[in-house]
Subunit: 349 residues, 2 copies
Amino acid sequence: MKNNKKIAIVFGSQSFEHEISIVSAITMKKVLKCEIIYIFIDKYREFYLIPTDIIKSNLFSSGEYKKFDKLELNHKGFTRKKLFGREKIKFDTVLNLVHGGDGEDGVLAGLFKFYNIPFIGPRIEASVVSCNKYLTKSYAHSCGVKSIGFQYFTKNEIITVEKFPVIIKPVRLGSSIGVSVVNNKEELDYALDVAFEFDNEIIIEPFCAGIKEYNLAGTKIENEYQLSIIEEPQKEQFLDFDKKYLDFNRTQSILSAEIETQLEEKIKESFKKIYNTFFEGSLIRCDFFVLDNEVYLNEINPIPGSMSNYLFEEFNTVIESLSLNLPKHKQININYEYVNKIQSAKGKA
Amino acid sequence: MKNNKKIAIVFGSQSFEHEISIVSAITMKKVLKCEIIYIFIDKYREFYLIPTDIIKSNLFSSGEYKKFDKLELNHKGFTRKKLFGREKIKFDTVLNLVHGGDGEDGVLAGLFKFYNIPFIGPRIEASVVSCNKYLTKSYAHSCGVKSIGFQYFTKNEIITVEKFPVIIKPVRLGSSIGVSVVNNKEELDYALDVAFEFDNEIIIEPFCAGIKEYNLAGTKIENEYQLSIIEEPQKEQFLDFDKKYLDFNRTQSILSAEIETQLEEKIKESFKKIYNTFFEGSLIRCDFFVLDNEVYLNEINPIPGSMSNYLFEEFNTVIESLSLNLPKHKQININYEYVNKIQSAKGKA
């Protein structure tokens, strides 16, 4: 059954996760029942309208996408050139599926806010807090949600690690890029070089090999949380980029993790505290650690791979309702009261 | 003496501080010696090129600005319509002078990053951290800089205050909008209503009537800090919007605050810890409190009123050098390695 919403999936862009964004976007065609159109952002940040019926990943790797309509974005929305003038591309809501840079760091959120484009995805502040692992921990703390203890270092600082194994992560970037598990002192320098290749700041956390991980995705619609099942991801030591990449075209529903009701409730409560009003407009996935029955936030994915569709029983309904309940911006009334006051006081300003 | 740089001052926009941005922008004409052009963003977020020789505040309050050239922004930069095609507006660097919304919350930073426009001003992350008073405190803590203790509340929470006076502030917004000093229980409800008018989250801090305040502005150019003099602002209980507004057209240099060398050093060190690499590309003003010889960060103004020109001896040199030393973005190499791998594994993806 098709519904009446038309969603514009925006994907690609100047990001380390450009390619997994393409995979995520194509996956949506298999799971979304509403009408969808595809707006690709290439590495030069040019917009292209890709026909939904023929979209496939090698259109992008081959450069073939360039033969399709180039779009412009301004207050009229996305438009394409016609014989006379320009035509507006019609859709109801953008679904921001740009993973990593541009999509999850607030660039597109800023662009869409400026041009008043309704979109599903994290707003600027939510993007910055999710994208920066240090700020994620601060934010979690403010919400009363625990996270793993850590050390924070900037480039050129003297870095000493007392106890191995540790996990080293660049402060920004997602999808395990630049992340290493370090088992001993000998492995440290190389891992630091790798992490600092991607960022000027890193965090070092203790690495707990046997730690349980649980993922929960969800959103809030009309003040009601819509939560997914809780997944215990099957993973090796941790997912490297290749493995995560293959993870982005998942469509098959999975079984809930077998956990006690009490722990399940704790995880759900932690999710709600994180989501609160901060993530309004987005569907996020929180990855939690559980140690001695305590729940710790590991990371927030404000644009999870393939939107975590496989975790929801009613993914279509969730996306459609979310698109109908996006946060509204208050229009600011600018009446030049102060300028007028000064002018009357000074004659002319 | 004119130098060769051409700076485009971007101001106005959909912001509670739209009008003080106009005042700040016009003030720049009096203090900047380089060539400047003016790009006004009206409340509908349309761009206009305002002739530098005739700019004055009533062009905006009267709506007269609309007779000037409307601009478009895309990968070609800012362009205006010509008889045939469009002409690029030439400048070297934007100076983001949009105070408050759009300017200081990351919207314009996102827009300029997307379209590769070089600009003086805070980047997205720095904007979000400065704009959100809760995140400012978290960030200060991560840098080893103290801030005043506080309580944090969201709308609809039960709010109790044990000890008066307190100062109530919306979490976002600047320029004292929605801020009240509350002396007793009777004044509380009204002050909370005012604050929640502007934001869903507020912070409540103890209000210390006699606290000393010191302002320091600065930037970093080629890894060297360029700091202003330290000012002890002359203020009543605290500056309300009207008074701050008049403060935005200051051009006259002032005298340094009379403080001990040791305290001066502490304030400067705190500034450097805050600025670090996080604020690269911007000239910020940090407002500090001093209590019992301890320095506390009060707030970060990532686009201070009239760029705090009156605090610098060599304001022109600072702005010009900053415009020559803006942070560079690393271009991400997108080679479709993963897409190609999948295609060869699966035939076609």
